[in-house]
């Protein structure tokens, strides 16, 4: 998995490429330093799939954003990822565009 990270003041942009599973999720989790961030954006256009370990990272980030009144967006999920979001009910929680 590859992670490209771009910070612009209180706005953090992350481009996640590859697979987000048990082995790779801790890496993403480690990259999420959310102090002072109130706008978080994931570009997952090239994310192959996400397992529950990956979902947990997204859910944790969403909770953190909610806690500080920030905003989180997930962009360009593929069909598999969108399906996972739908199955788990996360489509209603995340702001997916």
């Amino acid at each position: 998995m590859q992670i490209e990270k771009k910070q612009d003041g209180s706005k953090l942009l992350l481009r996640v490429v590859g697979r987000l599973d048990t082995n790779t999720s801790p890496m993403l989790d480690a990259e999420l330093k959310l102090d002072g961030i109130n706008e978080l954006e994931f570009d997952i256009g090239e994310l192959e799939y996400v397992s529950s370990a990956g979902l947990r990272v997204f859910l944790g980030a969403q909770k953190a954003m909610n806690a500080c009144g920030g905003k989180m967006t997930i962009k360009n999920p593929n069909a598999t990822v969108k399906n996972v979001f739908d199955i788990t009910g996360c489509s209603g929680i995340f702001n997916i565009v």
């Binding site: 599973d21 799939y49 397992s51 529950s52 370990a53 947990r56 598999t80």
Partner: protein, 704 residues
């Protein structure tokens, strides 16, 4: 008396009445005809008698006059008048050979030339010396048209002139009374007919049938209505007149009305003359017909009663047959295997649709060993319970023999010998027996006179598999069947059927036929066995279009699928183990061409969820992953087994996915995803291991 018998009686009576009417009409027509003939005859006979008599009389007078005068020379009017009076004739002329009247009793005639009048001129034949007499019929006279006069001439010797005498019709009256009065009394027409003759002016009868003489003296007294008869009055020398009806002497008579010589002649035929006979005939006919009809009615009634008892017999026979058929159908149904083989290496479907009168179709399929599977379709001759029972025998025999010998030809050879040994009912059957080598797709088969199967290849249209067929079973002892081989590639199919398919008839009695079967299968988008069975059956039903199914319709389709590929590996229960397992799955999917499949991601997620569960929570030392790939319809089965603590992930309640991010406990989502993304998840515990099987199926790839 029941309704039907009433109907028969009514019909018989109607027939009776109709026939009597016909008989009556025919009788009437016949009697009328006879009456007419008799009346015609009476008129003609009467006229020839009268005219004959007049001719004789006048001939006699003329000839004696010729003798008296001697030669044609003038005489005074007075002399001639005396002569006429003596002879009681109305006219007498002496004519010289030039046709000039040289002597006459009527002064107007003297000097007249007969040649001036066409009719009179004909008398000149008397001057050629060969003809001695010549006469003409009554006609209107030259001087007085009201007087009808008859002329007769007699030649002087050598044709030297002649004497012409004339006699008036009205002059006949007295003569007729004299000549014929007595004749009419005895002149009977037929048995009962008679002649009436009366003076036209006085109506007084000059004759009367003897038996009526005392009863009447004039026509009116006899019952004759002259006014009514006027329309039928006949005069002259030709024709016979028209028949009319009058009541004479109290009896209805058919009459004619002939007026001649101042007299009325009425020939009459009483109705009883011929019509009496008609009544007699009709009566006899009525009686005979009644007897015939009564006999007929009795016969019909008898036949009906027989028909009733026959119907009752048939009804009971139908019931018995229905029961037989139900038994036959039960036997047939019970005999067929109904659980389809679960081997992932091939698929098989079979369908039997029994005709109303159950035939002896059957199919069978069963494993011979782990790698060989037998399947067959057969058709026993005949129908009903006999065929069904024979079918049972044959089916058991084929199965047992095949299980013992494995080779279809060897099995059929033995089965044939066995069936021939004991075949009192002379039954026979056709059978196609195949054995699939599950590992390779080879099919060894033998055919005992059965319809050739259809083979469906990936690279071409369906066609018949037609190597030479052997003889039907149970016909001839000592037949050696030969096995042949064909091979099905992955996805290819074979269709067995009975003649109920190809010999199905449409409403116009057209056969379904071999080519139509190929067309139907050729149009199939999928060669899945169940699909083919359904397709063929539907096509036959649509073709028959309501025509009754004459024979059982049996279809068996088999599709060969490759043996599944199994990948298996043991991994340590660590994070690194999970990574290895992921790589193992990727490689396995790549090796079977599923790396690019949209389902690969789902399989990866499933593997990630299960293995992370094992690693994180089971306390296992290691875990094993078995990947089984089945092609077309593709399915991938992942089996995870670990030596951790007993744990059934399916026993957990799925998390509530409607909760918000804050309310939601993180965790538990993984198993939910596994369930949702797979088709089957099964947990078992055995040999101190947790075993979780997850099956992911893909839709069948179409067209093979």
């Amino acid at each position: 008396m029941n309704k039907r018998r009433c109907a028969i009686v009514v019909v018989a009576l109607a027939l009776y009445a109709a026939l009597i009417s016909v008989a009556w009409c025919v009788g009437t027509s016949e009697a009328m005809h006879k009456t007419e003939v008799l009346l015609d005859y009476a008129i003609l006979d009467f006229r020839s008698t009268i005219f004959g008599a007049i001719d004789t009389m006048l001939g006699h007078i003329a000839k004696s006059s010729v003798r008296s005068f001697g030669q044609a020379r003038p005489h005074t009017i007075e002399e001639m008048q005396v002569f006429a009076k003596v002879l009681d004739i109305d006219e007498i002329n002496i004519v010289d050979r030039t046709g000039t009247i040289i002597a006459a009793n009527d002064p107007r005639c003297l000097g007249v030339s007969l040649l001036d009048f066409p009719e009179s001129g004909k008398f000149m034949v008397l001057t050629n010396g060969t003809t001695t007499t010549y006469s003409q019929q009554f006609r209107a006279g030259a001087h007085n048209p009201d007087v009808r006069r008859k002329y007769l001439g007699a030649a002087f010797p050598g044709g030297n002139g002649f004497i012409q005498v004339g006699f008036d019709e009205k002059h006949l009256s007295g003569l007729l009374v004299e000549m014929l009065g007595y004749v009419f009394d005895e002149w009977l027409l037929g048995e009962k007919g008679f002649f009436l003759c009366a003076d036209v002016n006085t109506d007084r009868m000059i004759s009367n049938p003897a038996r009526h003489r005392d009863e009447a003296t004039c026509l009116m007294e006899a019952g004759f209505d002259s006014e009514a008869a006027r329309a039928y009055e006949l005069k002259g020398e030709t024709g016979t007149g028209e028949t009319f009806v009058q009541t004479l002497f109290g009896e209805k008579c058919y009459c004619r009305n002939y007026v001649f010589g101042g007299h009325r002649f009425v020939p009459a035929v009483p109705e009883s003359e011929y019509f009496g006979l008609r009544t007699a005939y009709v009566t006899v006919f009525v009686v005979l017909l009644f007897l015939v009809l009564a006999a007929f009615g009795w016969f019909v009634d008898r036949v009906m009663r027989d028909a009733d008892s026959l119907k009752a017999y048939w009804a009971s026979e139908d019931k018995r047959r229905a029961k037989d058929l139900a038994i036959a159908s039960t036997i047939q149904n019970a005999a067929m295997p109904n659980v389809l083989p679960a081997d992932p290496r091939f698929r098989l479907a079979a369908d039997i649709s029994a005709a109303k009168e159950v035939g002896g179709d059957f199919y069978d399929y069963f494993p011979l060993d782990d790698s060989h599977y037998a399947f067959l379709v057969a058709d026993v001759s005949g129908k009903g319970i006999t065929a069904a029972l024979y079918m049972m025998t044959a089916k058991t025999l084929i199965k047992d023999t095949l299980l013992a010998l494995h080779d279809p030809a060897a099995a059929l050879t033995k089965v044939n010998a066995e069936l021939c040994r004991n075949n009192p009912a002379n039954m026979f059957l056709t059978a196609w027996v195949g054995v699939l080598s599950i590992e390779t797709g080879y099919i060894t088969f033998a055919n005992a006179g059965h319809n050739p199967p259809v083979v469906m290849r990936k690279d071409g249209p369906p066609r018949y598999l037609r190597p030479m067929s052997g003889c039907m079973l149970a016909i001839m002892d000592g037949i050696e069947y030969k096995s042949r081989m064909t091979r099905l590639k992955v996805g290819e199919s074979l269709l067995l059927y009975t003649d109920g398919v190809t010999e199905a008839l449409d409403p116009h009695e057209v056969l379904f036929g071999d080519n139509r079967l190929l067309d139907v299968i050729g149009a199939a988008r999928s060669y899945a066995p169940s699909h083919i069975c359904k397709l063929v059956r539907t096509a036959v039903a649509a073709f028959a279009d309501g025509s009754p199914q004459a024979d059982d319709l049996t279809i068996l389709a088999l599709q060969y699928l490759a043996p599944p590929r199994v990948f298996s590996h043991l991994f340590p229960a660590t994070r690194a183990g999970i990574a290895e397992a992921t790589e193992f799955l990727d490689k396995s999917l790549e090796s079977v061409g599923l790396a690019e499949s949209p389902h690969a991601a789902s399989l990866n997620i499933i593997l990630d969820e299960i293995t992370s569960n094992i690693v994180n929570y089971s306390g296992a030392h290691g875990f094993e992953v078995d990947i089984t790939v089945v092609e077309n319809p593709s399915s991938v089965t992942l089996v995870f087994s670990d030596d951790g603590t007993p744990y059934d992930p399916l026993g957990h309640i799925d998390p509530d996915t409607t909760l918000s991010a804050e309310e939601r406990p993180i965790g538990g989502l993984g198993l939910l995803m596994v369930k949702k993304m797979s088709n089957e998840v099964v947990y078992t515990r055995g040999h101190n291991r947790n075993i979780l099987k997850v099956v992911k199926s893909f839709p069948a790839v179409e067209n093979f």
